[in-house]
């Protein structure tokens, strides 16, 4: 996208809302070195998110959107769930398709943008919850990996169907009690990061969003590898503080606990991915 698109007609400027003017004047466009360190100074691409106060998902959104290397050329495909509540507030081209078909829709978009704009990078990023990724959308998700679609898939794992009122999902750990797991969930958490590796993803990371800088690094790596090699997958722990009975200020504490156990930082790179990451480091982009 031309950065001119973000220029507001001078004659209309006085009628524009301040947030739109800020998007032109204070957002970080056209700079692949942008990152979470810009957050205190730059206009963010997410405006007044509609999630619960203190929701770690909102932090994940802010870090991811601050880290996209080329936001002016990034399409985000989401899926139904808490995460989809945020998309009307995001200053990018976004798609809210159905529940679970996000990776299929993203495949169609990415393939089309590849031949429509052969000389440009058009990044397609999927952001979907654990229900959309691990349960209802597992087929479309894994199949997009099998087909080696050049898209980045980010799963916001809060280990529960939060938006529908707190039912267990495939990502819920065994034994946890939720509304459709009376007496506790009877089978294990699906190791989606491992399925992603086995299904052909070239870069896979598992982490919580307790460290903004770490999120920035994995997002950038995943997007660069997807551009040049093939599918990449990021599994983020974004706990639902509401459903696990925590207060608005306890999300970070919760994530730091899980950093030590089931969301311990884990990263996988194929040989091709390692080369891309090495090259990007040499270019100063990572």
């Amino acid at each position: 996208m031309s950065l001119k698109i973000f220029k507001i007609n001078e004659e209309l400027k006085e009628y524009m809302p301040q947030e739109i003017i800020d998007l032109e004047e204070k957002a970080t466009w056209g700079n692949p070195k942008r990152g979470v360190m810009d957050l205190p100074y730059a206009k963010e691409l997410v405006e007044e998110h509609s999630l619960c106060a203190g929701c770690p998902e909102s932090a994940a959104f802010r870090y991811i959107l601050a880290s996209l290397p080329d936001p002016e050329n990034t399409v985000i495909v989401n899926s139904t769930g808490c995460s989809s509540l945020v998309f009307p507030h995001i200053a990018l081209h976004t798609v809210h398709p159905l529940f679970g078909n996000q990776n299929a829709v993203a495949s169609g978009i990415k393939r089309t943008l590849e031949w429509r704009f052969p000389d440009m990078n058009k990044d397609v990023v999927v952001i979907a919850g654990d229900g959309a990724t691990v349960d209802i959308g597992l087929d479309c998700t894994l199949q997009s990996f099998f087909r080696q679609e050049k898209i980045t898939t980010i799963c916001f794992d809060n280990e529960v169907y939060a938006n529908t009122g707190g039912q267990d999902s495939g990502a819920t750990p065994k034994g946890m009690e939720f509304k459709m797991a009376p007496g506790g969930k009877q089978w294990d958490k699906v190791p989606m990061w491992q399925l992603a590796i086995d299904s052909g993803c070239h870069y896979v990371a598992r982490l919580t969003v307790s460290s903004p800088k770490k999120v920035e690094q994995v997002v950038k790596k995943a997007i660069y590898v997807a551009r040049e090699v093939g599918p990449t997958y990021i599994h983020l722990y974004t706990p639902c503080i509401l459903e696990i009975g925590l207060n608005a200020d306890q999300g970070l504490w919760e994530m730091r606990q899980r950093d030590k156990e089931r969301f311990k930082f884990f990263e996988y790179m194929s040989d091709e991915a390692k080369e891309v990451i090495k090259k990007k480091k040499e270019e100063g982009l990572l």
Partner: protein, 394 residues
């Protein structure tokens, strides 16, 4: 595929390709007719999942991809994924074609019926097949009933010629700025898809102009146009009140667009209906293959001196409400032969004429049986009060 490897085809306007270009008669199957239309339609992307009897069509479209007529093609994971990827490709700016059938259509239905609301101008071939248990793979068309209330434009092809014309016109109609909706071209599996018929084809070195995704009532999702903040999908997330309102006005617009397609169907396909013998006393109203059998019954009846007419319904959505009221205003009886058990077309006809008592429910065959002309003749005799002994051969 690089541009230089693409077959040379001259771009012509749809009016020329459909209505004026010289045509040569070929003897081809319905599946081949779909592919011949795709070949001339400047299609960018084709994605589908195998199912009987649709597969052959998408094999042929795959051949077109191998020859460079289509830019991208793959066998999808299943119909839900196929129809979702079609939606993605069209959002991204492509012209797309897919096809499905019976149970596959139902599996992809959530995605397919979201296309109108998401304003996805694609063309979908539907080769009808039994749905529900017990299993049969034969051409029962009950599945069309599921498509009528979704905002899709639904055309029903009688034969191989219709398949070609409706599909090619479908691309032109679906992308009109005042329409911008997906077009379904339905036809009976096997009877049309696997049987050969005469099809008059324009030259294959001509093609439709490419899709211009910016000539559109909604923007493509390609990061090339302002505003930056684009979510084409109604943002239910803003508030419940706004979601009611947005959904309501958006769906009103979808159905208005659907009605606006009527003028383009008339323009490219000569009308929503075809009438044989408009001064008839008794009419057969039928669509798809049933119209072919109805056409034969009308011919037999005329030979027997009975004043019978035929109304072939080409467009099920938009439905030819006014046209049917006008043609049937003096009818004594209206016979509606169908290839399904529920009689969706009979219900549609009853709903649009003031004297629905004249509508004869049937004859109907289902499970994929053929529709013998004799069954329609029986109803014609009944309508005229003629008693016929039927010889039973055991």
């Amino acid at each position: 595929m690089p541009e230089q490897q693409r077959p040379e085809q001259k771009v012509v306007e749809p009016e020329y390709l459909l209505l004026e270009a010289p045509r040569e008669r070929k003897f081809i199957t319905g599946s081949q007719a779909f592919a011949e239309a795709v070949k001339r339609a400047n299609v960018d992307v084709a994605i589908a999942y195998p199912i009987t009897p649709q597969s052959e069509t998408m094999h042929l479209v795959g051949d077109l991809y191998a020859q460079g007529y289509v830019k991208d093609y793959y066998r999808a994971e299943e119909e839900y994924g196929a129809m979702s990827a079609i939606a993605g490709a069209v959002r991204g700016g492509a012209r797309a074609f897919s096809a499905t059938s019976g149970p596959g259509l139902l599996r992809g239905l959530e995605a397919i019926v979201s296309w109108p609301g998401h304003r996805i101008p694609a063309v979908l071939g539907v080769m009808t097949r039994v749905v529900n248990a017990p299993l049969s793979i034969q051409p029962d068309n009950i599945e069309i009933a599921y498509l009528l209330h979704s905002g899709l434009i639904v055309l029903h092809a009688e034969n191989q010629q219709d398949v070609f014309d409706f599909t090619l016109a479908g691309f032109a109609i679906s992308e009109k700025v005042d329409v911008y909706l997906p077009v379904v071209v339905a036809t009976e599996g096997f009877f049309v898809t696997h049987a050969k018929g005469y099809v008059d084809l324009p030259p294959d070195d001509l093609k439709l102009p490419p899709r211009d995704p910016y000539k559109a009532p909604v923007p493509p999702t390609d990061c090339e146009i302002p505003p930056a903040r684009i979510q084409r999908d109604a943002p239910v997330q803003k508030s419940n009140f706004m979601s009611y309102l947005i959904h309501a006005v958006w769906q009103q617009e979808v159905w208005s667009s659907n009605r606006r397609a009527a003028k383009w169907i008339k323009h490219y396909l000569g009308g929503l209906i075809e009438v044989v013998n408009p001064d008839a006393e008794v009419f057969i109203v039928a669509s798809g293959c049933a119209a072919a059998q109805g056409r034969e019954a009308q011919r037999y009846a005329t030979m027997e001196g009975l004043n019978v007419g035929l109304v072939k319904v080409k467009s099920l959505r938009p439905f030819p409400e006014k046209e049917l009221r006008e043609v049937l205003k003096n009818a004594k009886a209206v016979i509606v032969p169908e290839h399904n058990i529920v009689g969706w077309l009979a219900k549609e006809v009853k709903a649009v004429i003031p004297n629905s008592g004249i509508v004869v429910d049937g004859p109907r065959v289902y499970g994929g049986m053929t529709l013998p002309v004799e069954l329609i003749m029986d109803e014609i005799y009944k309508a005229f009060g003629i008693k016929k002994e039927r010889k039973t051969v055991v």
